[in-house]
């Protein structure tokens, strides 16, 4: 059996833990730079505020309905997520953290427990200990656990936020209830195709011919079908290191100078380097790109990317920043207003298996240096130690006008209690 534990409206719930006055009120959370809506509370969903919409288009609706708007506070969300995951890991030795706010638990060998009660205990404990409400779906397969979770979330009163699919009857009833486009792993394209042949529910999908599914949806579709039929084929995925890491941003305003872009690209490559070090990888290849604003027809357009093969694998801030700047200088053209840039690192090799080359090598002195920088940045806040060509104050600052305090990770920002 598998359990899928999913936090309800996670980002909004994180804000509410420290602002109980916002319980029951509409909340939206905006992306980096306060651009788009990336999370909504149920109340905001009820106002028909769509996911991903540009925030400025909804300013009127926000004020009219007293919607609380927050800049994404990823420090807070990350900390609350790790608290939730820590608690969950005490409920099963096999846990797959599927995203920041959901995890699969493998419950093999738990058959002697009453799984309904077990699910209730997980639900109650996480909600009480962290203040984040969660829903739990338990079923024989991962895909069915997803379905069960959806039911628990949709009917919190009836299910007490826990739903267990433990009989053929419940499985069929659940699948008949679930629309095909809401099935985990069915994209918009496939949903359209399935609707066209009158497959409207998850149940209809499980009645399809294997050969049709294989032909039209490949092996992934077939596996999903079997999983929904109650035959476990999707297992927990071991934590996989990412195969490429991208750091890209749109700028608040247009940049025309090489120096401004250099600063951005340096910062992006350092962010990539930090992520590489976290997963103990080095990269062998890097892409840098710059774009003008494609929505501004009145401005001259230019967009260009360049992939550079690195002479040696590295995850050093200094080396990656140097390569990124060299790459940028190759593609930069004067006379354009740039709106977006990015650095993507690729072709990873493990830190430990780095092959030494005869003439050119990553500077071994950078390894302890980077460790020190990481330590300092970890204890004194992000980006306290920077390279010389990174000057955030001079050129760029992320727009985060509605950022909540880092209540759970920074002593200067904890809740103040009037006594």
């Amino acid at each position: 059996m598998f359990a899928l534990v999913d936090c309800n409206n996670f980002y909004a719930s994180c804000e509410r833990v420290f602002r109980p006055d916002l319980i029951g009120k509409p909340i939206v959370v905006l992306s980096n730079n306060d651009g788009c809506i990336i999370a909504r509370s149920n109340e905001a969903k009820a106002l028909k505020i769509p996911m991903g919409a540009p925030a400025y288009q909804y300013e009127k609706i926000f004020t009219e309905n007293n919607v609380q708007v927050f800049s994404a506070n990823f420090v807070l969300y990350g900390d609350m997520s790790s608290r939730v995951m820590n608690i969950l890991s005490s409920y099963s030795p096999d846990i797959e953290i599927y995203s920041i706010d959901e995890a699969f638990l493998k419950l093999n060998g738990f058959e002697k427990f009453n799984l309904q009660t077990y699910g209730q205990e997980i639900q109650r404990r996480v909600t009480k200990w962290t203040g984040i409400p969660v829903s739990v779906g338990i079923a024989p397969t991962k895909a069915l656990a997803k379905v069960a979770n959806r039911i628990a979330k949709k009917y919190p009163e009836k299910t007490k936020s826990v739903y267990l699919i433990d009989s053929e009857e419940k499985r069929i009833k659940s699948l008949k209830w679930l629309k095909i486009e809401d099935v985990w792993g069915i994209g918009r394209q496939h949903a359209k195709k399935l609707n066209a042949i009158k497959v409207n529910t998850a149940y209809d999908f499980t009645q399809l011919d294997d050969s049709w599914v294989r032909k039209n949806m490949a092996i992934v579709g077939l596996r999903l079908k079997q999983d929904l039929q109650g035959i476990p084929v999707l297992d927990l995925e071991e934590l996989q290191a990412k195969k490429n890491i991208a750091v890209t941003r749109s700028f608040e305003k247009n940049y025309t100078e090489l120096e401004q872009l250099k600063e951005r690209v340096t910062t992006f490559s350092i962010s990539c380097a930090e992520k590489l070090r976290k997963q103990k990888s080095c990269c062998n290849s890097m892409m840098v790109f710059i774009h003008t604003n494609e929505h501004r027809n009145d401005l001259a357009q230019y967009s260009r990317n360049i992939v550079v093969e690195l002479p040696y694998p590295t995850n050093s801030n200094i080396e990656l920043a140097n390569f990124a700047i060299q790459a940028l200088e190759k593609i930069f053209k004067k006379g354009y207003s740039y709106k977006k840039a990015g650095v993507i690192v690729m072709a990873f090799s493990p830190e430990s298996k780095t092959q030494f080359k005869i003439f050119e090598n990553s500077n071994p002195k950078h390894i302890p240096l980077m460790e020190t920088i990481d330590k300092i940045n970890a204890s004194f806040g992000q980006q306290k130690v920077k390279l010389g060509n990174q000057d955030l104050n001079k050129v760029w600052k992320m727009k985060q006008e509605k950022l909540s305090p880092r209540y759970s990770t920074n002593l200067n920002e904890i809740i103040t209690i009037n006594v």
Binding site: S379, I415, T416, I417, N418, V419
Partner: protein, 149 residues
Amino acid sequence: MKQSKKNSTTSLEIFSISSETALELPIVSSGINAGFPSPAADFTDLSIDLNKYLVKNASATFYGRVKGESMKDAGIDNGDLLIIDKSLEPIDGKIAVCYIDGEFTIKRIKLEKNICWLLAANEKYKPIKVTPDNDFLIWGIITHVIKSF
């Protein structure tokens, strides 16, 4: 660690500070014993970890800063740092971070039959009776107060 005290020739124990993120104070267990190997030598890397002492359940522990005087007789003063454990049950007599009608506050919980009272620790403040009309939530239980001098 009892052994180390018994064998120690000085009554003074020395604690030094490690600068890891967890504030650990390693115990130098054998004092200034010359020649005699301390039976506690194997334990030299045991240390006092204030985190371990103050934080029993890290996933459920949060911090808060006190502003105000209503709990001064319970030793909770303006500016103190609170350690709050959300996992603990609100039992009679515990001091809790409560949320009542739009605001956080700290009070001692007094439970009578079906009635919850919030008691201040300062004679100037009257007990609050929580009724179903209040928007009320017990947010967490205070386990420690840290004062700086």
